[in-house]
Structures are given as C-alpha cells and as structure tokens.
C-alpha cells in the first residue's frame, strides 16, 4: 500500500519537476540530476532561500555544522534524519526563531531572496512575517477560532472590515472552514488535534507568508489527521514554499519534492554535530538509497 503510494507519488514528482524544468528552461535532464548533490543543488535555480555555510551554535556547542542548502520556490523540501541531528534547529534558523533561545547563534549566510536575514539591518519580526511556522505540537492561542486567525492580520494592522474575509479565506485554504464555520467564536483549544493543527496552518496563511516552515507537524496526530495535513501541504505547495521536518520517511516520500538527509556525526571529542549528508530530489534519495550511504562512507559528503 505504502509502496504503491510511493510509486504514484514519484511519478507525480517526476512530472512536476519536468514541467518545472520546461518553464525554467534549465535544460537539465533526469539522469544528470541523479548524479549527485552538487548537480541537484544547482538545479534549484533562483532559490527563495539559500543557506551558505550555515553553522548553528548553542553557546559553545555546535549543533549544526556547515550546511549549504538551497530551497526551491513553491516546492516542498523535507528534512529527514535521526533525532538530534539538528533538523529542527536548522529549520528554526530560517525565520530566526533561534533568536528566542538564549545563547543560540547562527554563523554563515541565510539568504532570503538574496538578503542575509541575519544581516545587521534586518528586523527579525519582518523575517517572521514572510517566513511563517507551524510547530510540532499544535499551539492555537486560547482564544476563539476567529481570533486565532485574526491575530496575525491584526498585528499587521489590517483593518477590521477585511477581517471576516481573511478569516474565511484562510480557514477555507486550510480545509477547515466547513468544519468550523458555525462555531467561530468557540475556543480554538476545543478542536481536535488535527483540527488544531489545521487551525495553526490557517493562522499562518492569514498573514500571507512566502515560506511556511513545518516542524514535524504530524508528530502528535493520528494517521487520518496526518493524511489530511499531507493533502493540504500538497495543495499549499502551489502557492507557498514549504519546508518540513519529519521523522517519518514515508511522509517525506509522499509529500516532498526534494529531501535533505541529515545525520549526527561524532567528532574527535565525542561531541555530536548535525550534518547534511545528502540533498536531492526525493525520488533519488529514496530510490537509490545505497548510493547516498556509499557516498557518505567514502567521505564525499562527510
């Protein structure tokens, strides 16, 4: 079952990528793409976000070591890898959420449309308005469903008369409107886990970001709720760039256009650092896993 889905998904991905190539006119053919990480990276022409030699530290501890990674526009990029390999940490450097953790610091460049978001003139608040985030545990505000969605637009200073429209639009977009339209004044906390997570996605969409980061958005959900969120992600990828961290390999295979594989590497002092092992089209990562392992062992990526 999973396998069949996976194959179907691969075909879809293949198609969408080829269509993308035609539009972009990159001229790269599929076999060339399969040749390795450098070529796959090069394919991401005009990346919406581009990490260049990014290291993330917590105090003296280097949690993520030297990552180069472009994020393609209107695609889903998945981060997979074992626990403690720095996936979430890296994701949180995309919208400067790491700023909130005392002692956390990012080295290297995190370019958003060519601008380093850790640059001296950049306002973290402005970054977060463009790069939204959905968290592992659904975290709706203890306010009404309406107020949950309206929070972001209100902070942005959107006028009151637009609010009903924004709320309906965002909830519709997050495939939640039909379930909640009659109880908009009830607390967002009263919804089920899956609905809460879609509420959080709707809340994120309401401020109309460019990129949506999802940190294991289905980790606390049952399979049905997970399937709904995954469908939603595919739909949203038509308009938004999505970066998702997941522990679930199948999930990455089902939804992601590209996949980055991270692992924790132990250095000479017995300290673990997160490293990017391989970044490629999802199909290549999953259909030729042996190659990535082999390359990893032979040190080409290590």
């Amino acid at each position: 079952m999973v396998k069949r889905e996976l194959t179907n998904q691969m075909e879809e991905v293949e198609m969408s990528v080829e269509m993308g190539d035609q539009v972009l006119g990159s001229g790269t053919t599929a076999p060339a793409r399969a040749a390795g990480v450098t070529k796959a990276s090069r394919q991401v022409s005009d990346p919406v976000m581009d990490l260049q030699k990014v290291h993330v530290f917590y105090g003296d501890y280097e949690a993520v070591r030297e990552v180069d990674l472009p994020i393609a526009s209107r695609e889903i990029t998945a981060f997979i890898g074992p626990s403690g390999c720095g996936k979430s940490t890296l994701l949180r450097s995309f919208n400067r959420m790491n700023d909130l953790i005392p002692g956390a610091r990012v080295e290297g460049k995190v370019l958003y449309h060519g601008v380093d978001i850790y640059g001296p003139d950049v306002d973290a608040i402005e970054v977060r308005r463009r790069v939204g985030m959905v968290f592992q545990k659904p975290n709706p505000f203890p306010k009404s469903i309406f107020d949950n969605i309206a929070y972001g637009p209100r902070v942005l200073g959107r006028s009151k008369k637009d609010m009903d429209g924004i709320v309906e639009q965002s909830l519709t977009r997050a495939a939640l409107w039909d379930e909640v339209k009659d109880k908009l004044d009830e607390s967002g906390m009263a919804l089920s886990g899956g609905q809460q997570q879609r509420l959080c996605i709707a809340r994120c969409i309401a401020v109309n970001p460019d990129i949506i980061l999802m940190d294991e958005p289905c980790a606390s959900l049952d399979p049905i709720a997970t399937a709904k969120i995954e469908d939603l992600m595919r739909e949203l990828a038509e308009d938004y760039t999505i970066v998702i961290v997941t522990h679930n390999m199948q999930q990455a295979a089902r939804v992601a256009d590209r996949t980055a594989f991270f692992t924790a590497e132990v250095d000479g002092q017995n300290v673990r650092h997160g490293r990017l092992v391989e970044f490629d089209l999802t199909e290549d990562i999953f259909l030729n896993p042996r190659r990535s392992t082999e390359d990893y062992i032979s040190g080409r990526f290590g």
Binding site: L100, E126, R128, R129, M133, F141, P142, Y151
Partner: protein, 262 residues
Amino acid sequence: MPAFEFFQTVPITDFLFGTEWAPLFADPEFGVLPLVSGTLVITGIACLVALPIGLLLTAMYLSEYAADKTRRTLKPILEILAGIPTVIFGFFALEFVTAVLLKNIWPQTEVFNALSAGLVMGVMIIPTVASLSEDAMSAVPRGLREGAYALGSSRRQVTLKVVVPAALSGIVAAFVLGVSRAIGETMIVAVAAGLQPNLSLNVFEGMQTMTSFIAAAGSGDQPTGSIGYQTIFAVGALLFLMTLVMNLFSIRMVRKYREVYE
C-alpha cells in the same frame, strides 16, 4: 455573636448609612461610612500604585523581557521585600513620605494623611502582586509565545495580546490577594493615616480605616459586653463581608475573561 448583640442595639441602617462614627463617645454615633470610605480611599491609592508598577512593569519585565540571570537575581530580592514588617512601612510613610516628600510638594498636608499611607501600602503589596503574576505569566506554555512570534509579533504584542490574556486568571488572583492584604493592613494606616474617622475624599487629610479602628478600640479598655466591645465585632463582620464580596466578584471576572490553555 457580639456582632448580633450590636445590631440589636443599633439599627443596621444607622450602622451602614450613618455618616458619623463616634461609638466610644458619651453621645455615640454608629455610622460606619467614614471607616468604609477611609478603607476604600487608602486601598484605592494602594491599587493605583501596585497595579501599574507591580503588575504591568515588574511582572511583565521579569517574565518576558529580563534575561534569565536577571530574573533569578531580582525575584528573590522582590520576595524579601514582602517580608518587611508593616510597622516599618508605617514609619517610613510617616517620617519620610509625609514629612520629607508630601510636606514639600503640598504644604497643607496634614501630619496624618491618607495619601502617604496609601502610597506606601501600594509599595508594600507590589512584591506579592508582581511575584504571583510573574509566576502565572511564566507558566504560559512556550508554544504559545513561539506561535505568536512566528506570526511576526513584537515582544510587546506577544506579552500584551498572548501572555497576559492567557495568564489572566493567575494575574487577577495575584491582584486580589494584594488588595486583600491592603484592606486588611493595619499598622501602616494606624501609624501614617491617623485615627480620626473622616468621611472625605481629600487624601491630604487623616482618615481612619476599619482595621485601624479595630486595632485602636481593641487595645483600649472596652469592658466585655459593652457597646464599644460589640462595635469591634460589627466592624470586623463588615470587613469580612467586603473581602468576601470582592473575592466572589473577582472569581466571576476571571471565569468570564480568562483564556484556558490546557
């Protein structure tokens, strides 16, 4: 029970609505309003001091703005302040706030006045209010803050629109506890506000509160069973009733406005 005996002698309407309080005089008057107004005026001043400083500034700063190290240093100091004996606050009000500050700014200030007692009482309850509301705010899950920050809110917006509403029940509880301490406070008012019952809103005049009457009358030589003795219990019962009503009211307010996050 002496309170019941009191109301057999004095009609309850005379007690509640009378404007003269002189129960121990040869020609006694039992209107409790001057004591109630004195209590409310002084407590009100204390709230005006403690609400903005204790709640809005101190608690919000400690919970949302201060670095971890600062908070761990400041909070114990704040809590030590809560342990200062109130008689010391009382003399601070009389000898410093009245004599040095108020007399210079407003020379007509009486030696015993409601303003200095209220101000100092406000300072006294700041630690209680600030420390408890900071606890309530720190207990708000990190996920809520992160959700708000991720939508591009500033720190001020996160604090005022997410953290404070979510912690509201704890904050109100902290404030009610502070106000209850203020209403029940005796030493500061007895020392700094004087013992003259005074139905007035002029805060530069001396006033007597319900508690300071009880203290003064109780330490005098009222024979057991006399009307003066019973008066103490009547005032005490009213004081109890007032705090009870205030607590019930605040519980209702909390039920209505709080945001349950669990």
